[in-house]
């Protein structure tokens, strides 16, 4: 056997063994990984949805898209919570494109009357110690119970009612704006959001 062929075969054998082992490991970990990801989603939903629904919002989801929810109008899942079949609340992801550095993704929960049941910052890249106070403090709690009608949707500096932080106005302003746009979308499309049949393959 020529030298180069021998080397190639040896490498191939090493590669094959490695691949076989990896395939095995992937098989073992596939279920736990899916489980953890699902648990993560459930934890987040539990934080923004009100208690008392009797369906599974993860399975009862629809994909909708709008420019107000994220700038690229990508489809995002709407997780619907119902009680006895009647719409109770919905949770979906809004994205603020105008944060201090990069997008801020916020999971918001809205009840059927249009009031917020909770918001959670899912991902962001804001400055530690300044903008990241949106996750380090209980600032998001101020949103609970707020609706388009009963709140002035701006930070205090701009004449609204939400706190900004010393030295950081841009981040809270972006979050407030994005949540407001999400509420507006919900107000206009409430029927569509609750009545569209659930997507078949809810993953």
């Amino acid at each position: 056997m020529p030298h180069f062929l021998k080397m190639g075969v040896i490498l191939m054998v090493v590669g094959l063994i490695a691949t076989a082992i990896l395939a095995g490991v992937e098989g073992i970990t596939r279920e736990p990984i899916a489980q953890s990801q699902r648990q993560e989603l459930l934890n987040a939903l539990a934080k923004v949805l009100p208690a008392g629904f009797d369906n599974s919002p993860v399975e009862d989801q629809v994909q909708l898209a709008d420019k107000r929810i994220n700038r690229q109008a990508k489809e995002v899942p709407f997780y619907r919570a119902r009680k006895g079949g009647a719409p109770m609340a919905v949770a979906f992801l809004v994205s603020a494109p105008d944060g201090y550095s990069g997008n801020i993704d916020i999971l918001i929960g809205v009840d059927s009357l249009g009031a917020l049941t909770g918001i959670q910052i899912v991902s962001h890249a804001e400055t530690p110690g300044l903008g990241n106070k949106i996750v380090k403090t209980d600032w998001p709690k101020a949103f609970v119970g707020k609706s388009l009608k009963n709140a002035k949707w701006a930070v205090k500096k701009d004449g609204g009612e939400f706190d900004q932080f010393a030295g950081a106005t841009i981040t809270p302003r972006a979050v407030v704006g994005a949540v407001k746009r999400g509420l507006e979308y919900f107000a206009e499309n409430q029927d569509k959001i609750f009545k569209t049949p659930a997507a078949e393959s809810a993953k």
Binding site: Y100, S101, T127, G129, L130, D158, A166, G167, T169, I170
Partner: protein, 356 residues
């Protein structure tokens, strides 16, 4: 070596008369009018800030000498100058412990760890300011309104002291109440909201160039009085401590793009005089970029360096993450100095020009 031997020293044989302590002292004198104006405009706390940073620098220098078993280098006056230069761009009521950290950082990290005066790569005062700005953004961007001494808004000596004194690593309570934006910060914020420059700076904010040039605006304790800083700069030019190349090219580097953008859209970009008289452009151009250790040697190199500083300042002010960019711009260009020196070396007499 025997002391009786006659030695012919190597050139240069004629000494210009300038020594390091003389240079440093002259620069301190040139800074003092603007510093005094800072105290007049912002009250006693500005004086305390200057004293604390200067003391912190001097003490750090002496301690480092002692730790390394070296003779004291306080005589060259450079530590005192670093302290004063560090104080100038600080808010007039910076908490005392930030002043101490800044002074210690400037001397230790900015100068002595590189090997002392002459070996440092970055301007010590500026590198310390950049460190403070990224580390304590809230305190470093809380600007009080002017409260001139002898006016009825003025704080007493004790009140001035109280605005900067707190437990270590805590913010004095008085500070929170005073926080607001400088004209540059105001401009950036309002324009990002879709307002025009006129709306951002006129009206309720009451910005006018006359008070900006005189120093009666919100801002750091020693950067605001553009006219006195300009006078100090001209004094340094007259005394031949600095040459015109860096200051003029740095001002041009900021003002040329400012004129171009202002001409294309005056609602979005403020006029060049705004850029000239707010923030730290003038003190940066005359006192900080011209630091002999951290600027290029040849006139051509100095002009490239100055243009780079000015252009970066404009870029950061207009599109960057911070409203003011002078210190970042100069620190970035400091890093480029060895490269600039390499490519701006004059051709030695008698040597043919090499075409690379």
């Amino acid at each position: 070596m025997s002391s009786t031997t006659l030695l012919t020293p190597s050139s240069p044989h004629v000494h210009g008369g300038l020594s390091i302590p003389v240079i440093m002292k002259t620069v301190i004198w040139a800074l003092l009018p603007a510093a005094a104006m800072g105290v007049m405009v912002f009250g006693w706390s500005a004086l305390f800030v200057m004293i604390i940073t200067t003391l912190a620098c001097v003490v750090t220098e002496r301690l480092f000498n002692a730790v390394r078993h070296r003779a004291s280098t306080l005589g060259d006056q450079s530590a005192a100058l670093t302290g004063l230069l560090l104080a100038m761009p600080l808010p007039p009521n910076t908490p005392w412990w930030i002043c101490v950290i800044g002074g210690g950082f400037a001397i230790l990290m900015g100068k002595q760890l590189y090997g002392g005066l002459g070996y440092n790569m970055f301007n010590p005062a500026l590198i310390a300011r950049v460190f403070l700005l990224v580390s304590f953004p809230v305190q470093m961007t809380s600007w009080p309104a002017p409260a001139p001494l002898l006016s009825d808004k003025a704080l007493s000596f004790a009140e001035g002291l109280a605005t900067i004194i707190s437990a270590p690593f805590n913010t004095p309570e008085l500070l929170d109440a005073l926080a607001s934006a400088t004209p540059l910060g105001q401009y950036r914020m309002e324009v990002s909201l879709g307002h025009t420059v006129r709306e951002a700076l006129g009206g309720s904010y009451g910005f006018d160039l006359f008070s900006a040039a005189g120093g009666m605006i919100k801002g750091s304790l020693g950067e605001t009085s553009a006219i006195l800083l300009l006078a100090g700069g001209i004094y340094l030019l007259r005394k031949r401590i600095i040459t015109w190349h860096i200051p003029i090219s740095m001002l041009a580097g900021t003002l040329l793009p400012a004129i171009i953008f202002w001409y294309t859209d005056p609602t979005k970009y403020p006029d060049p005089l705004f850029h000239l008289f707010t923030g730290g452009l003038i003190i940066g151009a005359f006192f900080m970029a011209t630091d002999m250790v951290t600027s290029p040697v040849t006139p051509v190199g100095q002009i490239i360096f100055g243009l780079g500083c000015g252009l970066l300042t404009y870029l950061i002010r207009t599109w960057g993450g911070y409203p003011e960019g002078v210190s970042f711009a100069i620190v970035i260009m400091n890093a480029a100095v060895p490269l600039i020196d390499q490519y701006s070396r004059p051709v030695i007499y008698g040597k043919a020009k090499t075409h690379a």
